[in-house]
């Protein structure tokens, strides 16, 4: 046994602790060289290194998901702008606010919706998501549960503008990465035209021709990966008659 390999054995306990960082490639210089020399002569450490490499491989794996940070960023900027604005009401301590949100207010739901958008579920489920969230929001608003911060809850449509729209009008929210050209092409594919928007939550109103039903157009839009949300501009019940535009 030469001197180098015998000294390499002496470091065993110390080297054992360093193996994860040898496996992740972050060691450098003499530290790296010492571990490398030891692993070459120590069977236990060599096996441990193999094990750690496998563990690293598993941990490195992240489920591939389309990430949309934009809604979260916008919420953060609203918070910052609100605090910086001189007209704002006295600031509620974040901790208190957080506790209030946990009691089930719509802002918390908006956040959950944002989280689900982050995970980009299949498009045909978007309407079901939206309906479920709307139902929860209604229960929370009218069910006697405190509704702190209700003024901050954004709906896709503005109820004061509903009389402007017809049954041939659709509200659509596109994914963040979609370009104007792609939006134009998609609107063209349903022979529609942009009527309005994007509004403050990014919804665009599209008017489709009489030759196409809203259901057909919605189905086509929801099949597209570029669309996060597509719904009639008017509520399904109480549609005005003769507003086919």
């Amino acid at each position: 046994m030469n001197t180098q390999s015998s000294s390499a054995y002496l470091d065993h306990d110390e080297i054992w602790l360093l193996i994860p960082w040898y496996a992740n490639g972050s060691l450098s210089g003499s530290e790296h060289d010492r571990v490398k020399a030891h692993v070459q002569v120590c069977l236990m450490c060599r096996r441990e290194f193999s094990y750690q490499l496998m563990l690293a491989k598993q941990l490195e794996h992240t489920p591939r998901m389309e990430i949309s940070s934009k809604p979260s960023f916008e919420r953060l900027m609203s918070r910052i702008n609100e605090e910086d604005s001189p007209q704002t009401e006295p600031m509620i301590k974040p901790r208190t606010k957080r506790r209030e949100q946990r009691q089930g207010n719509p802002q918390g739901l908006a956040r959950l919706k944002g989280l689900l958008i982050y995970f980009t579920p299949p498009k045909h489920l978007a309407a079901a998501f939206a309906t479920a969230l709307l139902a929860i929001a209604i229960v929370l608003q009218f069910g006697g549960i405190p509704t702190y911060g209700i003024k901050d809850y954004h709906t896709v449509a503005n109820p004061h503008e509903l009389d402007r729209f017809s049954t041939q009008d659709l509200r659509v929210v596109f994914a963040d990465q979609v370009t104007d050209q792609e939006i134009s092409a998609l609107i063209g594919s349903i022979q529609g035209r942009k009527l309005d928007g994007p509004n403050r939550v990014g919804a665009i109103t599209i008017r489709i021709p009489d030759s196409m039903t809203a259901d057909q157009a919605l189905s086509q839009l929801r099949d597209s990966k570029l669309v996060i949300f597509a719904e009639p501009a008017l509520p399904q019940s109480g549609k005005p008659n003769g507003g086919g535009g």
């Binding site: 563990l55 941990l59 946990r102 989280l115 479920a132």
Partner: protein, 208 residues
């Protein structure tokens, strides 16, 4: 330390694309209240923080709130950032503290599991949530580890950091990081002995 100023829109030089700009330069621009730089840094760190906070807290419903708490500190305290420190160390350090704070404030049983989300929102089981929580076998192992051990594993193997940097993030001695990792390795090995190589065939002497 950077100086914060309110120098908005007065730059003469053409700006490079934000994706090419280093973290430190972005933070310097954040000191000048540059929201474009802030958005670029936010986008860059959002997935990393999402992964890290999920691993540490294991609570899906609080992740965005914690990310925004972290980035709020970045915006407000950009001028206190020490340029000789790595930006990622600073940001992950804030994220670690915020994650611990969130865990300490949480009431027992206050937890949105994937199963609950599936009851509330039809179709959620088809989304990426399941990949992250259920199909990811390592989640099982992580559930048996302490918060500190999970953080060390995540920062080592997913973020690829040196133990020296992890010690800074977790604000503890380097030996504590090594000990936490040692304990985590023992637990994982006890849970998944089948991953133990039968021989040294996995090792390639020239890999590193």
């Amino acid at each position: 330390m950077f100086n914060r100023s309110k120098n908005l829109g007065t730059r003469q030089m053409p700006k490079p694309a934000t994706s090419e700009i280093s973290d430190n330069v972005l933070i310097q621009r954040i000191c000048e209240s540059d929201t474009e730089a802030f958005e670029a840094l936010y986008k860059r760190y959002y997935p990393k923080l999402f992964q890290f906070i999920f691993r540490v807290t294991r609570h899906l419903d609080q992740i965005e709130e914690i990310i925004n708490d972290v980035m709020y500190v970045v915006w407000r305290r950009a001028s206190s950032f020490q340029p000789e420190t790595k930006a990622s160390t600073w940001i992950f350090g804030i994220a670690y503290k915020k994650s611990l704070k969130s865990l300490s404030e949480r009431q027992p049983g206050e937890h949105l599991e994937l199963d609950d989300a599936a009851d509330l929102i039809p179709g959620v089981e088809d989304s990426g949530l399941q990949n992250l929580e259920l199909e990811d076998w390592i989640s099982v192992a992580f559930s048996k580890l302490s918060t500190d051990q999970r953080a060390v594993l995540e920062l080592t193997y997913h973020q690829g950091l040196h133990y020296h940097e992890i010690a800074k993030i977790m604000d503890c001695p380097e030996n504590t990081v090594k000990t936490r990792m040692f304990s985590a390795r023992k637990k994982i090995k006890a849970l998944f002995p089948e991953f133990l190589p039968e021989s040294n065939t996995g090792y390639r002497g020239n890999t590193l």
